[in-house]
Amino acid sequence: MKKTNRTLLSAVVSGAIAATIACSAQATTDGQVKLGILADMGGTYADICGSGCVIAAEMAIEDFGGNVLGKPIEMVSADSQLKPDVASAIARKWVEDEGVDAIGGLVSSAVSGAVSKVNADSKNITLISGSASNTFTTKTCSPYNVHWTYNVVALANGTVKPMVQAGKKKWFFITADYSFGHALEGMASKVINENGGEVLGNVRAPLGTTDFSSYILQAQASGADVVALANAGNDTVNALKAAAEFGLTEQMDVAGLLVFTPNAQAMDPATAGGMRLTSGFYWDMDDETRQWSKRFEQRHGAIPSMIHAGVYSVTMHYLNAVKAAGTDDTDTVMKTMKATKPNDFFARNATLRPDGRMVHDMLYVEIKKKDERKDKNDIYKIIKVIPGDEAYSPMLPQCNFS
């Protein structure tokens, strides 16, 4: 009996090895364009890039005509749950097993970092619309990263600089504890120090914190002029709510460094009114933005955030590049994308630099007070347009992938 087992075992092993001659899939040039959209369907960032991001990408594909290179454009979507491990597993499956050419959406820098790593290895394009960290075009830059919409440099230059110059010298940070928060805090601190201000301290809160009271108390005790919220989404909303409850908003200024329209809408105008911030897009800027935003609102039920508009814009630019290049080969498409200037309702005076950074005009806006608002969608007052070159930092030589 023992002997039969051994022969059985050896038969099994040799059979299996003979049957599995390894073949691993690399970036596909099959003429079939397939997009993957990773979003946060039910978490802290669901309002700014959840199902809305999927709708924005669908709209882009429909407006493009639905076909490219003679085949219908396919799209898949999934919930990243804001976890880098989940995102990395999904991305890996998409590009290795399902023939996805480019992955877009991508809210949360932790998620984008994980996906961009996978894509850099497999030579697929990462279309980052939702993340803020500038690492994708600096420290961890890759020839296959495209960073749309905004980043922390633009936010710090846009929001922090004018405040420091206006005499708000002492700052305290409440920071989301992951790459986005760290990058935003670091960039803002740099701008503060360069303009003669000082950073008194910081406290780091995990992503998705609901009770900010202990952080607010630390901020209150710091004696700063400004408490900067280096977080986003519902984190900002919750932090501001706690700040108002503890009377912090009456003692010092609160600066939301990254506020999206759906979050600004959710905040009480009595506490948030008058707050100034930087955005990559505002729906009510002119006729072009209004026209697109109305269409989006009809399908999504809410006005678009800058990320929604960014997803549409980058998807369109990618599809146009595939069409112009006549192939879905990654390197050729990247080259075409960088050679053509993006130009639509979202991307104004825009260029896609060789490092993958899309530089475009940013908006410096103020949240309207209650009596200034016509209706629930009337949120921002545009103070000025910041030219792209002023908002973004110059390209690093080691990230020049031209």
Binding site: M1, N5, L8, L9, V12, V13, G15, A16, I17, A19, T20, A22, C23, S24, M41, G42, V76, S77, A78, D79, Q81, K83, P84, D85, V86, S88, A89, I90, R92, K93, E96, D97, S109, A110, G113, A114, K117, A176, D177, Y178, S179, H182, R204, P206, L207
Partner: protein, 307 residues
């Protein structure tokens, strides 16, 4: 003898599976199966419900990931060191936890695991929510390149078989018999002259080390170590896997892990993505209410009654 045939059949299945299914997915199933088997050693055979096993899974993952990124060690050494780190942590936690029983044991392990979670959240080398990204898979013994998914899968399979064999061996050894005696009646085991706490502690350490082994391997497969692995959700998930599969059976955790991971994998995309936690919760409730012995336990009962 029957078990032997079943084992061989499963091994053949595992060897052939990557020709049909996506190897990274299969490797993930194996990592979680090993994790669940390690957990089952404690719950199923020693009767100890640990609610902090994620701490060991995560520790293995972080140590291995950190070493692979920073030290240039070969993957097998990094995995061994990750496993040892998990075992060491298990030795400390076990010493404290085995002094208590039942719900208090569970609470102590949960509390300690939360300590570990916040340590990894704040420690600078873990990069907070980002986790350790881009962990290189390296070359096994400096020779075999693991970046090919097929090669990686067979490496994981080897580790799994070794871990599984060790658990099997432990369960069927005199040591395993004593553990079962403790599970059934602790006072009687004490009266027979066994140092109960010492046995429990050793079982805890073995289980923790094997959980860390699973975590180390998982980090290499996904090239990533993140907070998900140390979060208490993960401790809950492994309980779910073990219970659905069948607690106290050898094959149960294997099947349970396969079942849960497959569910997570295929439900996470598309429309169902929003409801995945509800579905998993429902599965758990149904399992606890109607078939407490799990899938394998139920099958075995069926076999006993009918054949």
């Amino acid at each position: 003898m029957n078990n032997m045939k079943l084992n061989l059949f499963l091994l053949a299945l595992a060897l052939l599976a990557p020709t049909v299914l996506y190897p990274v997915f299969l490797a993930k199933v194996l990592c979680f199966a090993l994790f669940a088997c390690a957990f089952n050693l404690l719950l199923g055979f020693a009767g100890l419900l640990s609610f902090g096993h994620a701490a060991f899974l995560g520790t293995g993952g972080y140590v291995t990931g950190y070493l692979m990124i920073n030290s240039g060690l070969t993957p097998e050494i990094a995995i061994i060191l990750g496993t040892l780190a998990g075992g060491l942590l298990g030795a400390i936690f076990g010493k404290l936890a085995v002094k208590r029983e039942g719900i208090y044991f569970a609470m102590v392990t949960l509390a300690l695991a939360q300590l570990v979670f916040f340590f990894y959240l704040q420690a600078p080398f873990t990069n907070g929510e980002d986790g350790l990204q881009g962990v290189p898979r390296g070359a096994l013994f400096g020779l075999i390149d693991l970046s090919n998914n097929m090669v990686m899968y067979y490496f994981v399979l080897t580790i799994f078989v070794a871990g599984y064999w060790l658990i099997n061996r432990t369960v069927h050894s005199p040591f395993g018999q004593v553990l079962k005696a403790i599970r059934e009646n602790e006072d009687r085991a004490t009266s027979l002259g066994y140092d109960v706490n010492q046995y429990k502690w050793l079982a805890f350490v073995i289980s923790a080390a094997l959980a860390a082994l699973a975590g180390s391997t998982k980090t290499l497969v996904f090239e990533l170590a993140s907070l998900t692995d140390v979060h208490w959700h993960m401790s809950g998930e492994v309980i779910l896997m073990t219970l659905v599969g069948g607690v106290g059976t050898i094959f149960g955790p294997l099947l349970g892990a396969g079942f849960i991971v497959t569910m997570q994998n295929y439900l996470s995309g598309g429309e169902m993505g929003n409801y995945i936690h509800i579905i998993m919760g429902a599965v758990f409730v149904i399992c606890v209410l109607s078939f407490r012995s799990g899938i394998v336990g139920q099958l075995m009962k069926f076999k006993r009654n009918n054949f």
